[in-house]
């Protein structure tokens, strides 16, 4: 038994940290989050594509490194609140690469290379009919499409299967859906566009189940990185900040909350890495373990990143300090990629309950 990453993945993780700290320290990430229209640094995504990050989530046979490596990279991205659709893009690449449709391979390649942004469009609008694919056209409305307004193609879930829709000439008929999390760019997209089927219903279901599972693990890994760094920042702040003549880190009530933060964070680490490893090695229980990881990671991260604001006191409530960036990311990640409540249900069902 061994919990540490093997040499290749450990190297990937440390070189990712180096790259991100150089190219996208939190300050830079915040500039992108707060100022860019797309919500991500296109040049940096192209660079990641060149370095092979785009196909990371593929199996080793397919030229990737698998789920564990992917989780390790996402943890690092979480630590710097790395902006953009990295997780969504990786899911699309994996999904496209598993399709046998002729267009799929080409789009997979371009997406992996960072040349094209492809993401999934899943959630139907709350009113109106479900999205359909008939006569070669996709019709319907999808909400909360991640980075949808800037996508080069969308993988749309329809009653007939999964349909690839390249951006129409006139651009998407999209409305931005800004949320609590400035790092996240959702759009509601109204479709009446030509597309091509990349997987029919049954095959689509299998692919989407895989995407759900990997999305849950990926989001959990991001949450791990977010809370890990948030706890570090918090402990460091309490060491510096003085009140009543002593660093506030010396107050037992605060110590115990930081200790709980470590319990939450390290337990998330155990759960996320185990789920990621299982997705590569023991697929039978990977669905259960992915649900466990996500159902745990969301509330854990909310606790740690919420406490970060509280223990920073007044400055924790300012825009200038970083804790809020983490809290906002956490709230969105907790709600999407399988909300906590849904993952609890998934966990029970995958145990036959």
């Amino acid at each position: 038994m061994q919990f540490d990453l093997d040499e290749d993945r450990a190297l990937l993780k440390s070189s990712t940290r180096e790259l991100l700290e150089k190219e996208s320290a939190l300050a830079d990430a915040r500039t992108v989050i707060e100022e860019s229209a797309e919500g991500y640094d296109k040049a940096l995504y192209a660079q990641l594509g060149e370095l092979g990050y785009g196909s990371l989530l593929l199996t080793e046979d397919e030229g990737g490194m698998g789920v564990l490596a992917f989780a390790a990279v996402l943890e690092e991205m979480g630590r710097v609140a790395f902006p953009g659709p990295f997780l969504d893009l990786a899911l699309a690449v994996r999904l496209l690469s598993q399709s046998e449709a002729p267009e799929a391979a080409e789009w997979a390649e371009r997406a992996a290379a960072g040349e094209a942004l492809v993401v999934l469009a899943r959630l139907d609008a709350t009113s109106g009919s479900p999205t359909r694919f008939t006569g070669g056209r996709v019709q319907g409305t999808k909400r909360f499409v991640p980075f949808g307004a800037h996508a080069d193609a969308l993988l749309v879930e329809t009653g007939e299967g999964l349909v690839l829709v390249p951006r129409p000439g006139a651009g998407w008929n999209a409305v931005a859906q800004p949320t609590i999390d400035h790092a996240q760019r959702f759009a509601e997209v109204r479709f009446d566009d030509a597309g091509s089927l990349v997987a029919a219903s049954d095959a689509a279901r299998t692919l989407l189940e895989d995407a759900d599972r990997l999305g849950a693990i990926g989001a959990s890994a991001l949450l791990l990185g977010l809370m890990d760094r948030s706890l570090e920042l918090t402990v460091a702040y309490t060491m510096e900040r003085e009140a009543f003549g002593a660093p506030i880190a010396s107050f037992q009530a605060l110590q115990h909350r930081c200790a709980d933060g470590l319990l939450q964070t390290e337990s998330t680490r155990s759960a996320v890495y185990r789920a990621a490893w299982a997705a590569d090695e023991t697929p039978d229980d990977a669905g259960f373990l992915a649900a466990v990881a996500k159902a745990w990671a969301g509330p854990a991260a909310r606790y740690v990143c919420g406490q970060a604001i509280q223990l920073h006191g007044g400055v924790g409530f300012t825009w200038e300090y970083d804790p809020h960036v983490y809290l906002k990311r956490v709230k969105t990640l907790e709600q999407f990629y399988g909300a906590t409540r849904d993952q609890l249900e998934n966990a029970l069902q995958s145990r036959g309950l």
Partner: protein
């Protein structure tokens, strides 16, 4: 035991409701969603609103008639705040002036100070902000380091204050400054300082909600005139602590009323999304409903104690902890229960529940920090109520 309001109090409430019906044209929520507003126009709107309230003698109601009040009791003050909250009226810009500085001047100021400042405070000709906290003295307020040094008859103030609500729009600031570096409590004095002068720089602080309602103030030899010293030299700490105690009671009914409005919104959203019948949702909703009602019970008890002449003690820390932590649970649960739509950005789009949940979620983070953090409140309960010893 008697939790009924008196007929006079009920009458007061009826008149107030009628007045609000007639005078409040748009709710604060609607105003904040109006894309034609910016931060400045919202403050201007609040200023106009305060003047209306003042003209109807709803501002400084507890003060004597001499100073514009009606000698109203804490119960009437609580009813006023409750009804303003229910009606979703704008908050008045001078609420810190009214609740803190007004009483300070009435009890500790000179006749000249009262005449000079109170009328303009009431009708919002001058907006006041509070200069107590400093970057390195938050919870431990008495460690403040801003100093006031004699300059002839007057004083020169140097230092930095922070978390000054409404600071970016304020004309005056009331400041605790050190006139003796060696005496922790007795070395603090209470000054009134005009902001529009060399030596005072006010910078807005952007909050996690994206707004900038707070400011930080830099004093670099700012002039505070001798006639603007409140009380004697070295009395500042005592005055501040007395005055902070006057806040008692006013929010006891307003807070549960505020959360009732949010709970109604949550119910509407759950009904719209068809989730109101799910047992898991009902359990969570039920807990939020009963907690708010327990909060109201605490509030009625505090108010009844005040009404029968008992001063509420450090137990008011219980109310502070309760409402501030409840507000977090409420918005957090709403985001969970209502699904992704509830995350839509602050004040940008409506959800079925007609509450700006994302904004509430962020804003609720402040309540457990300001006016004595939850940690400080628990220290107070342990030490002053339960008499547990200091380490």
């Amino acid at each position: 035991m008697d939790l009924h309001f008196t007929p006079e109090q009920e009458q007061f409430r009826r008149e107030l409701r009628a007045w609000l019906d007639a005078n409040l044209e748009r709710s604060w929520t609607e105003e904040t969603r109006d894309p034609n507003h910016d931060a400045d126009s919202l403050v201007e709107l609040r200023r106009v609103w305060q003047r209306k309230l003042n003209a109807a003698r709803y501002i400084g109601m507890g003060w004597s008639e001499e100073w514009g009040g009606r000698g109203a009791s804490e119960v009437e003050e609580a009813i006023l705040q409750e009804e303003l909250t229910r009606a979703d009226a704008p908050q008045v810009p001078n609420f810190l002036g009214i609740s803190l500085l007004g009483p300070a001047l009435i009890h500790h100021g000179t006749e000249e100070q009262r005449r000079r400042f109170i009328p303009k405070m009431l009708n919002c000709e001058e907006i006041w902000c509070q200069g107590f906290s400093e970057p390195s003295s938050g919870s431990d307020l008495a460690s403040l380091r801003t100093r006031a040094e004699p300059d002839g008859d007057d004083f020169r103030i140097t230092g930095q204050k922070v978390w000054t609500t409404f600071g970016p729009w304020a004309d005056w600031i009331f400041v605790l400054a050190r006139t003796d570096m060696d005496d922790r409590y007795g070395g603090i004095s209470f000054f009134l300082v005009p902001i529009d002068q060399d030596g005072v720089e006010m910078r807005p602080i952007r909050q996690i909600t994206g707004e900038s309602e707070f400011g930080e103030v830099f004093f670099d030899g700012a002039l505070a005139k001798r006639e603007h010293l409140v009380g004697e030299l070295g009395e500042g700490w005592r005055i501040a602590m007395t005055v902070l105690g006057y806040e008692r009671g006013a929010a006891t009914l307003a807070k549960p009323a505020e959360y009732d409005v949010q709970l109604d919104g949550l119910v509407a959203g759950l009904r719209a999304s068809g989730k109101l019948d799910r047992p898991d949702v009902r359990e969570q909703l039920g807990r939020l409903v009963i907690e708010n009602e327990v909060m109201r019970s605490n509030g009625l008890r505090t108010l009844a104690q005040l009404a029968s002449g008992h001063a509420p003690g450090p137990e008011s820390s219980i109310e502070k902890i309760f409402w501030s932590e409840y507000a977090q649970r409420l918005s957090d649960s709403a985001l969970d229960l209502l699904g992704p739509e509830a995350q839509l950005a602050t004040r940008a789009q409506k959800t079925g529940s007609d509450v700006d949940w994302a904004y509430q979620y962020l804003w609720s983070r402040a309540g457990t920090i300001y006016s004595g953090s939850s940690e400080i409140q628990r220290n107070i309960i342990a030490k002053r109520v339960l008499r547990m010893p200091t380490a």
